[in-house]
Symmetry: D2
Subunit: 256 residues, 4 copies
Amino acid sequence: MIIQLDKDISSAQLEGLKTEVSARDYQVREVHTQYGNYLVGLGKKAFDIRKIGHLPGVCDIHRVSDAYKLVSRKWKAEATHIRIDDTLSIGAGDLEIMAGPCSIEGEAQIEETVAHLVANGVRVMRGGVYKPRSSPYSFRGLGIEGLKTWYAECRKQGIRIITEVMHTEQIEDMLDYVDIFQVGARNSQNFNLLDALGEVDKTVMIKRGMSGTIEELLQSAEYVFAKGNERILLCERGIRTYEKAYRNTLDLNAIP
Amino acid sequence: MIIQLDKDISSAQLEGLKTEVSARDYQVREVHTQYGNYLVGLGKKAFDIRKIGHLPGVCDIHRVSDAYKLVSRKWKAEATHIRIDDTLSIGAGDLEIMAGPCSIEGEAQIEETVAHLVANGVRVMRGGVYKPRSSPYSFRGLGIEGLKTWYAECRKQGIRIITEVMHTEQIEDMLDYVDIFQVGARNSQNFNLLDALGEVDKTVMIKRGMSGTIEELLQSAEYVFAKGNERILLCERGIRTYEKAYRNTLDLNAIP
Amino acid sequence: MIIQLDKDISSAQLEGLKTEVSARDYQVREVHTQYGNYLVGLGKKAFDIRKIGHLPGVCDIHRVSDAYKLVSRKWKAEATHIRIDDTLSIGAGDLEIMAGPCSIEGEAQIEETVAHLVANGVRVMRGGVYKPRSSPYSFRGLGIEGLKTWYAECRKQGIRIITEVMHTEQIEDMLDYVDIFQVGARNSQNFNLLDALGEVDKTVMIKRGMSGTIEELLQSAEYVFAKGNERILLCERGIRTYEKAYRNTLDLNAIP
Amino acid sequence: MIIQLDKDISSAQLEGLKTEVSARDYQVREVHTQYGNYLVGLGKKAFDIRKIGHLPGVCDIHRVSDAYKLVSRKWKAEATHIRIDDTLSIGAGDLEIMAGPCSIEGEAQIEETVAHLVANGVRVMRGGVYKPRSSPYSFRGLGIEGLKTWYAECRKQGIRIITEVMHTEQIEDMLDYVDIFQVGARNSQNFNLLDALGEVDKTVMIKRGMSGTIEELLQSAEYVFAKGNERILLCERGIRTYEKAYRNTLDLNAIP
């Protein structure tokens, strides 16, 4: 159950509301995001939700029986558009290509790539400066200095940056140089990282785990939303199956 | 290639050795653990390793062609025993049972479990105080205070504790109350966490990822070793397959 | 629902019984095996089965809610022993090793193998004379003549033969030279073959499909039983997963 | 290695050719289809294939190193079009929809479906009269009589029929009432069935096995071609993975 709260709900009204919901054997969780205030109610008892819906301070109320709540499509009247910045938003019906190399390697590579993207009308560049590598001996990326160089070049040309954040401690340093934080497949259920990304006002793209289910991916998104950040993109990047003719098996069904 | 260094190798000898190895188109990485000092050489060029083996400061040298090096069985003359503490070590040929609940829930549960373990000769108790949960609304464990309570009870009875650490920031707080740090399946490739656990002198048990390969598991162990910690246990906990008759499919082949 | 029939049930009693069961919205299927006569009732309506149990001609009656019925463990009072021949039966608590080469290749190989089995107390030899091969150009086995040669040698030494049958048309020719018919993983859901093997009085061993579920394997066994043959062995031979370190992943959980 | 033979190659030339190829340590297999005559050479020794290419009776020669040979794309100069009948062929660049129910159930259903297909310009109707069912108690289809009824209705309206054949013994009876024989996922490696379908001059559509690899699917097609039938369609029908949100995971990568 999701209760959308009025912007100007008083704290007395909020407490009263929580008491009413709790009285029906529901756990209550307050969620405050950049776009709204919510109560998430978790319980199993059926009751007439209109009785809650009519209470002061309630804007709207929705029954959501999925394992995830706030990221469910069921209570959204309209398709979501995710704001990247003042002039770019991504959402239903549009195709936005994000392109770039696996790793950011240096200025020459950046310049060449940016020029290519600009020439082809691509507005978002991807690349890694923190690279999760199976082996500790592999190149692990240029780090924050590489990101700054990359950012400087992109800003000149109006290109946005999506790049992977691997650890909560990197978030603050990266914040000013990133347009979209990417959570990699190996961190798809790194809940501390997801929690921390829920506390920034910046778009987060969560990649599906190597053997993650759709439901798990949506629950990972719920972590981010429940901590306060509604700007979430999901990425189907292929799953791990028995087939070895290609690296991953694209799961087309996952795309609604 | 793994070069075991003499304990009293001089820094001049070490530099000379690194120069010799690098000259053969090998990358060199120094590794210092609680038990020894190593150079890991990464390259493809074949050469007579005895030429390096005879240099001053070299104790022994081994060719290891696996994707992982230090954790490879190939250069170990004897089966490994992992020291937990002064009176407990775990290793080849022994069966050591670690038992306990999914989550630590409170004193009564702890006392009852500890009594049961003592009565049955079990020496290690498992349980979670930081719980990775698919849903952000599920109980996420009692945290550090729960761990302290648990530890106090276990110490009275001589029971050791194995428990999951989810985040680098938890390590320091947990250090004095844990005998074995457990890395959960979802964090099996959380390389920042593995790096950090390589810097403590405490046993680490890494669980195989939900769809992790044997090679990936060993490479995760390599992260810990390469940062300085040789006290590593690996856990086959079942993998994710198409079969839904049970939660996970135990991969018995994974156990050598 | 399984109704075990009296051996001397009259046809009038049988018809009456079927009418009673059908009247409760259950489909009825008669099954006659080498060991007994059954009615399998398929329906969802709950009723007091004792009312059927008391009818003349009924020996016993059991509720079985699994997707499979006759092969369910639920209605069996005792663990099953499968008779291979007068002096060999296989079943719960015993370990019977079946060993031999992938393909039967010729007399020398047969003689050498049989001698080895006899020396080691193994009583059943496996080998293929009809080989399912991914490629049409691979060796597909010595066929019926190879089987006859093999059989002659085995009979001299008291060794039994288990070998794969790939096609219904092979059954009759093979019947006198085989102790256990093996259904290969690729034919685990070849229902025409399973039906046909239900009509012989010879043990059948069904291998689990490469990605077959436990339930599917048991349903394949149900095909054989429902056609009249209760002498069924099941074989867990490993399943196909993402892990490529070994050819198949043994699913130990599958063994009760 | 594939050698395309001249239509009017003499038997002396053919024998000479086989001798030449065998002399290079290659196994030779003659293949005669409705469209051409081939020698498939299987071996590993490298040699200048032009020496064979210049021999009398040879039309063309191709090196094919895949596990499958005749169905490889590598030796085909042009994209294949598969002839269904005089007025319908299926192939690269065209989209041909085949639609219909899981099972053929009776005249009313057939008539309604055919009318719907005609109204929508669909030219091929699918449906099952022999149904592979996990449970022996499920409806297994109307069989050959159902097929005849279906065929009569389709012929009136110019609709073609694709339907599953489960067993070699069904082929002859079905032959006059089927436009495309479908091999189901469970029979994707039923090599006796594939062999038998190689001996008819009718299009065969092979569905990928539930956990079949691309290579295995192509090798199954090789069975049909090697027995003499080049009219082969392949069907990607989704594979079995850990994801249970949908019945099968469509493997889009499988489509070239």
